[in-house]
């Protein structure tokens, strides 16, 4: 069987059980193509921008984000990414990385969180949130996902996320599970990670934020989920809404033990 992995090209080549010869050649070609792009991931550009934004004095309160508590104490960046989403006592809610960043931008820097959340992806402060998330994720590269399920809300959000994952709807009756519920499947030539369990290192939840070569955009996890819902023909999930955080909790808990490669480079 084929194991979905954009990283271990050799593994894919070796394990790729393609039905016809022409197909095999094509997928080998695609794997070579992906390998060629690994060196020189433009996500580096966003990572650099994010680091700069973290340290820069900005906003109405003229402050940096260096005191932001991402869950491991004020200013601790390394390791935070692989433990999110989690429950935060100060806001009394479940937050993912982006939701938490927006909270810090409001409390520390004086930005308007609601305004940022309403901003389209890639625009204004939202593009800064994405760059920040890219850098923070990069600081946990190689670390393994290990979300807490200690707090009652963390458990509840996992359960809600599971229900969202299997929620069929829209004109096509699609749920997340339609595409990500079985191992070794593809849409067109695109490998689909199974997301009901740990899909492996650097796959699925452990690959985003990622740079998308198709449109030259840096995609955060929020945008990844948003676009999945778009293609599912679902209505629009609010940025950092409870549904997206619950779904991310389900995916993150399932990814326990997977090493993060974010920021990755994707089609």
């Amino acid at each position: 069987m084929k194991k979905a992995s954009t990283l271990s090209i050799a593994t894919v080549l070796a394990l790729c059980a393609a039905p016809v010869m022409a197909q095999k050649t094509a997928s080998q070609g695609i794997d070579e193509y992906r390998a060629m792009l690994q060196d020189g991931n433009p996500a580096d550009l966003f990572e650099a921008k994010g680091e700069d934004l973290w340290k820069k004095v900005r906003g109405p309160k003229n402050a940096s984000l260096e005191k932001c508590d991402l869950g491991k104490g004020p200013g601790v960046v390394k390791g935070a990414f692989v433990e999110l989403p989690k429950y935060f006592a100060d806001t009394q809610k479940m937050q993912d990385l982006e939701s938490r960043l927006v909270t810090c931008m409001e409390t520390l820097q004086g930005f308007n969180a609601a305004e940022i959340s309403k901003t389209a992806f890639g625009r204004g402060e939202m593009s800064n949130v994405t760059a920040l998330a890219t850098w923070i994720a990069a600081e946990s590269k190689g670390l393994r996902f290990n979300l807490s399920q200690a707090h009652a809300q963390e458990k509840t959000f996992y359960e809600v996320g599971k229900r969202l994952f299997f929620q069929r709807g829209g004109p096509h009756d699609f749920s997340c599970a339609s595409c990500h519920g079985e191992e070794g499947k593809r849409i067109r030539l695109q490998d689909l990670p199974i997301l009901t369990k740990n899909p492996g290192d650097g796959v699925g939840f452990a690959a985003w934020p990622a740079y998308r070569v198709s449109n030259g955009q840096m995609w955060s996890m929020q945008l990844r989920l948003n676009d999945c819902y778009r293609q599912q023909r679902f209505p629009y999930p609010g940025f950092a809404s409870d549904a997206t955080v619950a779904l991310a909790t389900y995916l993150g808990v399932n990814a326990k033990g997977a090493a993060s490669v974010a920021p990755a480079i994707k089609r």
Binding site: A26, I30, Y33, M36, L189, V213, S214, R267
Partner: protein, 151 residues
Amino acid sequence: MQTRRETLKQTAVVAGLLASAGFPQFAHAAFNKAAFDAKSVQDAAKAAGATSMAESKDVTITGPDIAENGAVVPLGASTALPGVKQLLIMVEKNPAALVAMFHVTDAVEANFSTRAKMGQSSDVYAVAIMNDGKALWAKKEVKVTLGGCGG
């Protein structure tokens, strides 16, 4: 599109920058618009100074056999031949064939890589323009596939 006035203004800026940076030895760094506007591989090479064209095993074009996405196709051009003035990377079926023109000096290897946009499957070319105006080229086919769901 650019207005004529903007073009003129920009030319002035470029000239000013070149002068202030004291770049006279890099006179060829001025943008060769004719080469980049040319539609075909031949016309672009000619505009870049080629007087004749011949296929050559001494020039190498690198790229994937299949590109999952035409927006980003890694391409490289190289040669070990002495006397190379410029190395060009071209995509035959793009609206304008020329993607990038690298000026070869004694200080760098004649080996350059970048990434190109491709509108469709096409032959891609590496063209080495020699000091005497001869252009030596190599080509390979790159297939561009349709990716995910959208299309």
